[in-house]
Symmetry: C2
């Protein structure tokens, strides 16, 4: 039954990537089906052969695939029990940022287009669940470090959102061929957050 797909025809993944590119340039609502189609040398109507449920479904799959992939990469680090909390967090941040710089279109979609998917009641719940799981990876690692006395006592949810906000933004401003490589940026940012968690030298709030 399941016949081998033809070699030259486009597949779902091609289309998702193309869509992510167009979304980055114009945003979801600004992206015409014909724009996405053109990106893979098709006509607008042809997309409905691959995605019968249309434009919104394409967005949903871009975000789900994108989030799942980055989650898997980070999860692998979290599951590595040979790492101390500080090394682990450093590697988590590094992995996360490198992932974003390697696929900026999807990274940007995860920042800018999530809101759109959240308006869809069915997709909403599933997506929020995924996103919470992802966020959990960070809270978990940070909490472990605090419990182990390696990190100072921060407000874990806020610190997590601080990291994630900084990360998200990388997907927006990073451009290949810029002053720094993805690796250098990932290094610098993991240094920053590790320093922020260092238990010594905590400044006292003056406000």
């Amino acid at each position: 039954m399941a016949r081998k797909p033809a070699e030259q025809s486009v597949n779902r993944l091609d289309i998702l990537l193309a869509a992510a590119n167009v979304f980055r340039r114009k945003g979801y609502h600004g992206a015409k089906m014909s724009d996405i189609a053109a990106e893979v040398d098709l006509t607008a109507g042809s997309l409905y052969h691959h995605f019968p449920d249309g434009k919104q479904q394409i967005l949903i799959e871009v975000l789900n695939e994108g989030l799942d992939q980055i989650t898997a990469e980070v999860q692998a680090v979290v599951d590595d029990n040979t790492l101390m909390p500080d090394e682990k967090l450093r590697k988590v941040i590094y992995t996360n940022i490198l992932g974003l710089t390697q696929n900026t279109s999807v990274a940007a979609a995860l920042v800018f287009e999530t809101r759109t998917i959240l308006e869809n009641p069915e997709a909403r719940k599933a997506y929020l669940k995924r996103r919470d799981s992802f966020e959990q990876l960070y809270t978990q690692v940070i909490q472990e470090g605090i419990d182990a006395g390696i990190f100072r006592q921060v407000d874990v949810p806020i610190f997590t959102k601080t990291i994630l906000g900084a990360h998200n933004w990388v997907g927006v401003w990073y451009r290949e061929g810029g002053r720094l490589t993805g690796e250098q940026i990932a290094d610098e940012m993991s240094n920053t957050f590790l320093a922020a968690l260092s238990p010594i030298g905590v400044p006292t709030a003056k406000n």
Copy 2:
């Protein structure tokens, strides 16, 4: 000539605020002129009396006003020469975050809708200039601290974007009436970045 505006009629600022609210809920492209109008008890057509140039002009003014206001608040702190670099940065961060939590609709627009304005060639240049000036406020304060030997030697542009990314994200997730007040969040986050700049306890990169 300039007659006093009628007491009950809506003014431009009402409309800009209303638009920001709708933009937050639906995004610029998802926001109908009738949605914005309804928010101030008008019909879609009436908006053209106040904004002859239409929807995009409304967005442009929302972003310009919003950015100008937050810039002014931060600038005032930067100009205070009685502050040491670390106190100054703390206060800058605090002020910035508090500003965002106090007007989340505009804050969200500054994150999500900037891309739209950048597609408009005329508005683009002016807006980028404003945004650069704003970013400069941070790079300047951070650099001063490094030069004074109070901060460790970070990559200033990256550190700035790290801070700004974290800030931007506050405007997205913060909700009034949540676990923490805007002040508490501002405190926590300024602690984080001040700690990150602390010259002692710098962890060595292991990647």
